[in-house]
Symmetry: C2
Subunit: 189 residues, 2 copies
DNA sequence: CTGGTGTGTCAACAAGTGTTGGCCTACAGT
DNA sequence: ACTGTAGGCCAACACTTGTTGACACACCAG
């Protein structure tokens, strides 16, 4: 499973392509982002993208490798879980502009079925288990995870994709104060 | 301001184009939906679309003419507002498949700035005033409208665009029971 | 019947897409 | 120093896109 690190001379180019791809996919979504635009941003020829990543689809897959890095659920007291989760997502979205894979997926999932499937996978692998740790019954855990996802993705969509002015205007503290209790209720009530 | 109803012979074709356009835009979003696909669905030539609607952009504008038809805020008691709003939106999305303009806009807004602007306009014209009727201070009304929009659009996105299985599985009654109180709190607390 | 206008089809344009193959160039191992 | 190979660029492919203009048919007023 290890890559034996061949340390090719082209690793710099590969990284530049991936960086540019993340930026373009995040800004435009899967369809609107073109191989040519990505190549131009990385300052190389479009054919290099194909050489190193095979196809636009595989490049996209490489660009969005999401790990929500959810905080350890045991580390926070149960009554603070809602606020902790909201705070965590806010930090992921706002303080870490280099890794906007989740927003890229969100933007692309609206029109690209592959991106949607990927987002569903992340939900199933990372949100559902979190809910399951709190309520063992899988059907109630699924429902709770669903409610949490609906609220959090709605926040991400209106704040970072749609950029609804009043949602953008909310301070992080206000977001945590208003939406934290909602998540708390969805998770534990 | 009236159209003097010339009652042209081509009105049927115009309507067929608009119907097909709504279906394609709703299913694929602005970019992925092509004039040719719309014309094929309407069983006419692509050039007719241009003749009657001028351009793809103008056709899109004609296809998404959204009126949320929000219920009269005075008609329901204040403590039932949340449930009433959630019920209303559920009906708009699920029982009226002919008019999915809002979902079309939601899907397209992720990658199309014009659609996003249009959605922001609907929000400002229809959600904000509703919040303002409950709390006169415009800044708190804006915040409340923002929270409502984030929750409701999140529900629409996860249920109808992303189709997250646990969100789809929620019965309408469960949605109202779980999310109604959230909206209620966002609006009035 | 005749002319004109509105309705519709066909073919094509120009631009942009993902993708491919050929051709240089420069570095690595011998 | 020589040579094979990997890195990189150029030009082109096949295709799709929105859009346009020329042409054919049908209807209706005179």
């Amino acid at each position: 499973m290890n890559d034996a690190q061949p340390l090719r001379r082209s690793d710099g180019t590969r990284a530049a392509i991936l960086r540019a791809a993340r930026a373009r996919f995040a800004a435009d979504g899967y369809q609107k982002a073109t191989i040519r635009a990505i190549a131009a941003a990385a300052d190389i020829d479009p054919s290099m993208v194909m050489r190193y990543y095979g196809s636009k689809e595989r490049l996209f897959a490489a660009a969005v490798d999401v790990d929500l890095r959810l905080p350890d659920i045991g580390a926070v007291p149960k009554e603070r879980l809602g606020a902790a989760l909201v705070t965590h997502f806010l930090h992921r979205w706002e303080d870490d502009p280099s890794d906007d894979a989740l927003l890229t997926l969100l933007r692309s999932a609206a029109t690209d079925e592959a991106a949607a499937e990927r987002l569903r996978g992340i939900f199933a692998a990372q949100i559902v288990p979190l809910a399951q740790a709190l309520s063992p019954d899988p059907s109630v855990a699924g429902e709770r995870a669903a409610l949490v996802a609906a609220q959090m993705l709605g926040l991400a969509f209106t704040r970072h994709i749609l950029r609804l002015p009043p949602v953008v205007a909310l301070s992080p503290e206000a977001v945590v104060a208003r939406i934290g209790p909602t998540i708390q209720r969805y998770l534990t009530e």
